[in-house]
């Protein structure tokens, strides 16, 4: 029996879902091995039970909380897909400002009219079985996980920093080119795609299990940016995890 697979989107840009539709060369093969039962962005069907539920996006409103509980109850395996779902991603930056101020920026005098929650990881509300990191998640990461789950195997884990893959790609370190980069504290697995294209690592795959944050701040400030700026860079994708 092919596993019943579903995709759900919460507070997100839907970029991770789109990245799956961009697997043009593999899409038809993938569909041979799974039974796609729910994917609102692309189809009308709905289902009651899922072998694998992929969740994109953060939990950020009371209705999100209800919906994710409901999906969890009906899913055997639940996977958080992309930075928004794994740790809050860029959405979590709103949590850095007092909630009153955030609402005021948007609603002005009507700020008390509307309810909102801090942007949370899916795992803050329900049990998450697996995570696919990145913003967006990479297609290869997603495929590896999906294949492992369909075959009933353990998916790969990434323990080393982005710098390792960056070195393997023989890039000149961006610090030598006057830029600052979060590669040393960021979980690898992206093939160092940003530094390989000449851009700094933004930390979108989240922190290593044991990151040296103080060391990172020191390196960044010794390369000419202020402590304030260095902290902000570090918080771009880790606002729910780093306390500075």
């Amino acid at each position: 029996m092919k596993p019943k697979v579903a995709f759900f989107d919460f507070t997100s840009c839907e970029g991770c879902q789109l990245n799956k539709l961009n697997l043009e060369n593999d899409l038809l093969d993938i569909l041979k091995h799974i039974d796609l039962v729910e994917f609102r962005e692309a189809m009308d069907d709905k289902a009651d039970f899922y072998d694998i539920a992929f969740i994109e996006g953060s939990i950020s409103s009371p209705s999100c909380v209800e919906r994710i509980h409901d999906i969890r109850r009906r899913s055997k395996i639940l996977v958080a897909l992309g930075a928004c779902a794994v740790n809050g991603g860029v959405n979590a930056m709103k949590n850095l400002h007092p909630i009153d101020e955030v609402r005021e920026t948007v609603y002005k005098e009507d700020k008390y009219l509307f309810a909102t929650l801090p942007a949370m990881a899916v795992s803050a509300i329900v049990k998450v079985d697996y995570e696919v990191h990145g913003c967006p998640m990479t297609q290869q990461d997603f495929l590896k996980l999906l294949i492992a789950l369909v075959l009933g195997k353990e998916p790969p884990k990434y323990g080393s920093p982005v710098c390792v893959e960056c070195k393997l790609n023989e890039n000149e370190c961006l610090y030598n080119r006057g830029m600052v980069c979060l590669g040393p504290i960021t979980r690898g697995g992206c093939d160092a795609i940003c530094p390989s294209f000449g851009q700094f690592c933004t930390g979108c795959r989240g922190l290593l299990d044991d990151p040296n944050l103080d060391g990172m701040l020191e390196v960044m400030t010794s390369h000419g940016i202020s402590l304030d700026e260095a902290k902000k860079r570090m918080l771009l994708y880790n606002a729910n995890e780093v306390q500075l």
Binding site: L18, C135, P136, Q199
Partner: protein, 434 residues
Amino acid sequence: MSRDLNIKVHHLTRVEGHGNIVVNMKDGVLEKAHLSIVEPPRFFEAMLKGRSFHEAAIITSRICGICSLGHQLTSLVTTEDALGLEISEQTRLLRKLLVHGATMQSNILHAYFLAAPDLLGAGSVFPLIATHKDVVLRALRMKRVANDIGDIVSGRAVHPITPVPGGFTRIPEKAELLEIKRKLLEETLPDGLETVKTMQALAGAIPQFERETEYISLKNADEYALYEGAIFSSDSGSIPVKDYLDVTNEFVVDHSTSKHARYNRNSYFVGALARWNNNHAQLGEEALAAAEAMGLKPNCYNPYMNTIAQVVEVVHCVVDSVRIIDTLIANGLKNEKPNQTPTRYGRGFGSNEVPRGILFHDYTYDNKGNIIQANCVIPTGQNLANIDNDMLKLVPEIINKSKEEITLNLEMLVRAYDPCISCSVHMLEVDFIE
């Protein structure tokens, strides 16, 4: 016509983001017909506060995955305007090539994956794999080449990497551009012309409905405007981009977490059909021939034809991408570094056409290059009032049909606008009461 009708489509499928269609008719009197936007807001304007000009585009591209390139480039143009950063001709051309790639990918996705199933009576593209395999394979092939442009020129089609304020962190190589050109000419152009034939065959299933409204898009004296230009209204002509707030006039309605917009009338249309109506004369012969074949005429007032206008643009983008690549190569590719030395600080404005319509960003920077204030006005938000007005006219016209048919017609109407709901709720949250 003394009929009671209650339609409620919860979380409409095959659109980007969460929206509901609500129609209430009592004793033949239409009390309500609208699209409710129920997507949770993300507060991007608040997230941007205090962020440096190096990060603004990285953050705003995350407003929407489908429109990530459009948000990113509009953010860069806005930052460059605010900080006085000049860009080179090569940067401008590379950006235009990226815009073509993104427009192709998004329009193909919409026409084939989201809209075509309706015209073929299917619930999604997936059953079409069995019944229309060649068409699905063609769509995937076209999407792949469109995404190749993004992958090669910007590092990644979703959330591009290399476009930064003042230029690019990496310039593509000549061989890479020539390979794109080869694919465009050998694969995508013939595929595009086949697409025109497919749509021609399906055109009979497009509902006949007209409502003349105000059409707003960019206009550029030199070309069919997608990147850079001035605002243009079919009612009142040109408006400079810095006066965009006079056009958008955003206001809050209780059935939508996204604000609505109005300018000369109580709603206006943005997107491919508005671009077609305002700028069709600037299209090349291939695109004009495609339009004619599919029955799209200048000044078309049928919103369902937006999908057809998107297919016309695909043809335009393929042809114009080849021209851009030729120009880039003829000029000689230069390994330029981005210009990131501000010459001033303050407020800047940016506007581009993204696949779903005209997009505005507006940032104010302090003298350290950090954002003090930000505003983004998104195409789908601008279209919402117009969608509601279409529904109000459409429902009485088709009231003798079955409830299922009416519902399908309304769903198709909303999908024709190719709404991008995540984008449209970048800022507002209103509790939705079921």
